[in-house]
C-alpha cells in the first residue's frame, strides 16, 4: 500500500492547500479557480475510498456545473467600476476560535472511535450498480422528489432573473 499512501497524501495536500487559498486570497476569481482544485482533490479522495460513483458525480456536478455557476455569479455581481473584485477575510479571530473548537472536538471523537469502526466486512466493490438498484427500489420516492427540487430551483431561478414584470 506504499503507492496508495503517496497518492493519498498528494491529493489530500492539494485539497487542503487549495481550500486555504479559497479562504485567504483577496481576489475572488483566484478563490473560484482554486476551488476547482479543491473539488478535484476531493474527487480523487472519493476514488481512494472506493466510492467511484461519488467521484464521477463530484467531477460532473461540482467541477462541471457548480463552478461554472459560481464564476457566472462572480461576473454578474461584481460592480467593476466602483468596487474591486476583491474581498478580505472578515472576523478572522472568532472564526478561528469557532473552527478550532469544532475541529478539535470532532478530531478527538474520531480519534477515540477510530479503533471501534474497523474494516468493512465485505471487500469494497463498484458502487454504481448498487446505487442504481436502490434508486429504483427503496429510494424511488426521494429520487422522484429530487426532480421536484430541481424543478423548483429552475422555476425559482427563472422567476428571480426575469426582467419584465408582466404576468
Amino acid at each position: 500500500m506504499e503507492t496508495f499512501d503517496i497518492v493519498f497524501y498528494i491529493f489530500a495536500t492539494l485539497t487542503i492547500v487549495s481550500a486555504f487559498v479559497v479562504v485567504f486570497t483577496k481576489n475572488i476569481m483566484y478563490a473560484a479557480f482554486s476551488l476547482l482544485f479543491t473539488f478535484i482533490g476531493v474527487a480523487a479522495l472519493y476514488v481512494l475510498l472506493h466510492a467511484d460513483f461519488l467521484a464521477v458525480t463530484q467531477i460532473l456536478i461540482y467541477v462541471g456545473g457548480i463552478l461554472v455557476l459560481l464564476l457566472f455569479g462572480v461576473m454578474l455581481t461584481n460592480n467593476v467600476v466602483s468596487v474591486d473584485i476583491k474581498t478580505g477575510t472578515l472576523n478572522t479571530i472568532p472564526a478561528l476560535v469557532a473552527a478550532a473548537v469544532i475541529v478539535g472536538s470532532l478530531a478527538a471523537v474520531f480519534y477515540m472511535t477510530w479503533s471501534t469502526v474497523g474494516e468493512p466486512a465485505t471487500a469494497p466493490t463498484a458502487t454504481t450498480r448498487a446505487i442504481g438498484e436502490l434508486l429504483m427500489t427503496g429510494y424511488a420516492l426521494p429520487f422522484e422528489v429530487a426532480s421536484v427540487v430541481l424543478l423548483a430551483a429552475l422555476i425559482g431561478a427563472a422567476l428571480m432573473a426575469r426582467r419584465t414584470r408582466k404576468p
Binding site: F4, V47, L48, F53, V56, T57, L60, I61, G64, G65, I66, V68, L69, F72, G73, M75, L76, N78, N79, V80, V81, T128, R129, I131, G132, E133, L135, M136, T137, A140, F143, E144, A146, S147, V148, L150, L151, A153, L154, I155, A157, A158, A161, R162, R163
Partner: protein, 117 residues
C-alpha cells in the same frame, strides 16, 4: 485501484499538454514589443472604457438550466447500469423523472428563458 491507472495517465497528459501549450510560445516566439502591439485590439478603434462589464443575468439562467440537466445525467448513469434487471418499475420510474424535468424545460422555453431579448 488498477483500473484508475489509465485515468491517472490521462490526467497527467492533460496537465502536461496544457502547461506546455500555454507556455511554449514564450520560449519559441520572438519578443519585440511596441506600444501599438501591447494596446488592446478593438478593430483599430481606441478602447474607451474597461472591458470588465457586468454580464447579463441571462447567462446565469443558461448555466442554471445546464446544471439541472447535468444532475439528470448523474441520475441516468447508475440507472443505465441496471435498468435491464429492474425492467418495468425501473423504466417507469426513470420516465417519470425525465418527464418532470422536460416539463421544467417546456416551462423555461415558454417563459422565454432561452430567448435572448
Amino acid at each position: 485501484m488498477e483500473q484508475y491507472i489509465p485515468i491517472a495517465i490521462m490526467i497527467l497528459i492533460g496537465v502536461v499538454a496544457g502547461v506546455v501549450f500555454a507556455n511554449i510560445n514564450r520560449f519559441l516566439g520572438p519578443h519585440k514589443p511596441t506600444e501599438e502591439k501591447l494596446s488592446t485590439y478593438e478593430s483599430g478603434m481606441e478602447p474607451v472604457r474597461t472591458a470588465r462589464e457586468r454580464f447579463s443575468v441571462k447567462f446565469y439562467l443558461v448555466a442554471m438550466l445546464f446544471i439541472v440537466f447535468d444532475i439528470e445525467i448523474v441520475f441516468l448513469y447508475p440507472w443505465a447500469v441496471v435498468f435491464r434487471q429492474l425492467a418495468p418499475a425501473g423504466i417507469i420510474g426513470m420516465i417519470v423523472f425525465l418527464v418532470i424535468l422536460v416539463i421544467g424545460l417546456i416551462y423555461e422555453w415558454r417563459k422565454g428563458g432561452m430567448d435572448w431579448r
